[in-house]
Assembly symmetry: C2
Homo-oligomer: 103 residues x 2
DNA sequence: CACACACATAGAAAAATGTCAATATGTTTT
DNA sequence: AAAACATATTGACATTTTTCTATGTGTGTG
C-alpha cells in the first residue's frame, strides 16, 4: 500500500470532527441522501456539503449521484484501507529501548 | 466501550497531522525519549512536546518518565481501542437505501 | 421554457490548531 | 547549592478548519 504521511492524515481527518463522526453513525443504518442527512444534523446545507467532501476525500464514504440526489454510504473498501493503515502505523517492530543508555 | 463522538475525535486526531504520523513511524522501532525524537524531526522542542501531549491524550502513545527523560512508545492497548472504534464506526448494519423513494 | 429542488462552490468570519521564542519546572551532576 | 539538562508551559502569531450567507450548477417538473 505505502501511503504517505499526508495521505494518512487525509484518511483520519474523517474522524476528527464530531459532526462527521455523527454522520458515520447515521450512515450505519444504510445509504442516505444529503437532504435526509441534513435533517438529522444541526448544520447548514453548505456545511454538510463541506463535511461530505472531507469524508469522500478520506475514502471512508462514497457518494452516488442519482438524478438531483447525492446518496452517501460508508465504503467497506475505504474502511479496510483505513484499518490496514491504522494497524500498520501502530505496529511495533521492536520493543526494547535503545535510548538514553538503554534505561 | 461506548465512546462518545468527542472521544473518538480525540483518538483520531493523533493521525491528523503529518508530523505526528512521522512520530509513529519513528516509534515503531521501539521506545524513544523526547530528545531523540527531536533529533529526527524538524520541529522545536515545545512543538514536539505539544504533539506528544496530543498523542498521549489519544491513548495511542504512552509516556514513561525516567529521571529527567520522557520515554514514549506506541501503546498496543491504545491501538486496539482505536481499531475497535474504527471497526465499529464504519460497520454498516443495513445496506438498503430508505431514502428518496428507495431509489 | 420557467420554476423549484438538491447540492456544490465562493467568499468571509470565527474558532481551532500548529508553531516558535521565552520561561518555568523538575531532575541530575558537580 | 549552583549549574546543566530534559521536558513542559505560556503567550503570541500564522495557518487551517469550521461555519455561515450568498450564489452557481445541474436536474426534474408544471
Amino acid at each position: 500500500m505505502e501511503l504517505s504521511n499526508k495521505q494518512i492524515t487525509v484518511i483520519f481527518k474523517a474522524l476528527c470532527d464530531e459532526n462527521r463522526v455523527q454522520i458515520f453513525r447515521i450512515l450505519q443504518h444504510g445509504e442516505l441522501c444529503a437532504c435526509h442527512l441534513l435533517e438529522e444534523l444541526h448544520l447548514s446545507q453548505p456545511t454538510l456539503s463541506h463535511h461530505m467532501k472531507v469524508l469522500c476525500d478520506s475514502g471512508l464514504v462514497v457518494g452516488r449521484k442519482e438524478g438531483k440526489w447525492m446518496h452517501y454510504s460508508i465504503s467497506p473498501e475505504g474502511a479496510k484501507v483505513a484499518m490496514d493503515c491504522l494497524k500498520e502505523i501502530t505496529a511495533v517492530t521492536e520493543n526494547d529501548c535503545k535510548c538514553c543508555n538503554n534505561q
